[in-house]
Amino acid sequence: MSLHDRPTVTEILAAVRGYLNDEVAKTSDRRARFRALIAANVLGIAERELLSADEDARFEDERLRTLGYVEGAAAERRRRLCADIRSGKFDSPERFVAGFAYASEMVARKLAVSNPRYLKR
């Protein structure tokens, strides 16, 4: 638990999101309403990301190891992976399938945070 008092970070985000959805969006003109709904939506993204951050990090670390990227911070390994894809190191059918599986799993994780409904459509 954080040394800070409640509301927690996620509770604060949820409260602001509720305010934007239930008050700002309902009392504003069309353009301001549109922006309030976008703002509420990105706060929802922040809430979900905070909740899944630890698990996301563990998951990505494990998958990068599986691909052979063991050394260094995750962000740095991800960059090496991108450079390797671009220079053709994932062109062979087996490597392409492995890289593809990694990318698909990461994109699914990103969508679970950014727009969980998209995967259900």
Binding site: D29, R30, R31, A32, F34, R35, I38, A39, N41, V42, I45, A75, R78, R79, L81, C82, I85, R86, G88, F90, D91, F96, G99, F100, Y102, A103, S104, M106, V107, A108, K110, L111, V113, S114, N115, Y118, L119, R121
Partner: protein, 348 residues
């Protein structure tokens, strides 16, 4: 004038518009209303009402004006967009009539055009019962308008010197892939899914285009004004270029441009075959379905990168906007769709 712009900015715009329109018309132009319109992620669009005095002549105009920052490396300067719209108007394409000549308003490049009535918001157009009749007519109307665009003689219209075009040594697809790599590098984020998709696209490139025409570059629901009887005008010409006309045919099929109406693969308003056949009839071309499927994947990557670029305009501080910021998290949807389509092709 319910607008976020501060009153000073609005005064500058008003004064500059009055000065420019007075010069152009030889009359005293008075702005009676000026409002920033909703939407518009790359250019500002203003609704401007003007009275010309003496006399009672009133002009209902839209002013397109540069915003801060570069949307993508492919955006045209306003003066060039104006020239393209003028050429399309002269060719009988349904576009807002362009007025006067390119201007500078509040220190930013701008131009004026006729204000055309209609709805452009994609989500409404694909679902609202009000537009049911329009939706039934749109595939045919869009196909005819697109065929008209692709018939414009770029050289005769004086556009070949203004527009970006692939050199003879490269295919239009190669040029596009190179541009997307440059844009992705400029964003400076690691995107393994986009790297894989671009690599796949480069290694599975279809034969080079058989002809090059004027390409609208962003032809889809959301960029056309629709009224009760269907298509009123085609907007947003800032991505126009000389290239493969099939890029315009494939672009409305990209999932994002179905606005949630996923089952109707052409713009959320009709099925893919209906759209492709309508274009074939209108243009006299035969459409290679495999090429469209490939360009649809390219289109998803293009919009994924485009969304990252737009988010950068907010993140860099050039154009602070919650709307632009949110687009950074949209690109995962196009990544997902690009990978899904590639994996489907693999099975075939």
């Amino acid at each position: 004038m319910a607008e976020r712009s501060n009153p000073e900015a609005l005064d500058v715009v008003r004064n500059d518009v009055e000065r420019f329109l007075s010069e152009q018309t030889g009359k005293e132009a008075r702005v009676t209303d000026a409002r920033l319109l909703a939407g518009g992620a790359s250019q500002e669009s203003w609704s401007v009402d003007v009275v010309l005095e003496p006399g009672e002549e009133r002009l209902a105009l839209v002013m397109r004006r540069d915003m801060g920052g570069v949307l993508t490396f492919a955006t045209l300067p306003r003066a060039t967009e104006f020239a393209v719209i003028a050429a399309a108007h002269a060719a009988g394409v349904p576009v807002p009539r362009p007025y006067f000549e390119p201007a500078t308003i509040g220190g930013k490049p701008a131009f004026f055009m006729q204000r055309v009535e209609g709805e452009a918001v994609g989500r409404r157009l694909v679902t609202d019962p009000t537009f049911a009749d329009a939706r039934a007519k749109l595939p045919e109307q869009m196909a005819q308008a697109l065929a008209q665009i692709h018939r414009i003689d770029v050289h005769a219209a004086g556009l070949d010197a203004l527009l970006p075009a692939a050199d003879a040594a490269q295919s239009a697809i190669q040029v596009e892939i190179e541009r997307l790599y440059r844009e992705l590098d400029s964003v400076d984020e690691a995107h393994p899914a986009l790297e894989l998709a671009l690599r796949w696209l480069a290694r599975n490139e279809p034969s080079p285009e058989t002809e090059r025409t004027l390409v609208h570059g962003d032809f889809r629901i959301g960029n056309i004004l629709v009224g009760a009887t269907g298509l009123n005008a085609i907007l947003d010409w800032e991505f126009a270029r000389v290239g493969d006309p099939m890029e315009d045919v494939a672009w409305p099929c990209v999932r994002a441009w179905r606005f949630g109406n996923d089952a109707l693969e052409a713009g959320g308003i009709t099925d893919r075959e209906t759209w492709l056949r309508a274009y074939e009839r209108a243009s006299g071309r035969s459409v290679d379905r495999g090429r469209i499927a490939y360009l649809e994947i390219l289109g998803n990557v293009r919009w994924a990168v485009g969304a990252l670029m737009q988010a950068r305009r907010h993140l860099s501080g050039v154009e602070p906007s919650i709307e632009l910021a949110s687009l950074g998290r949209l690109s995962a949807e196009m990544e997902h769709e690009a990978l899904r389509l590639i994996s489907e092709r693999g099975k075939g």
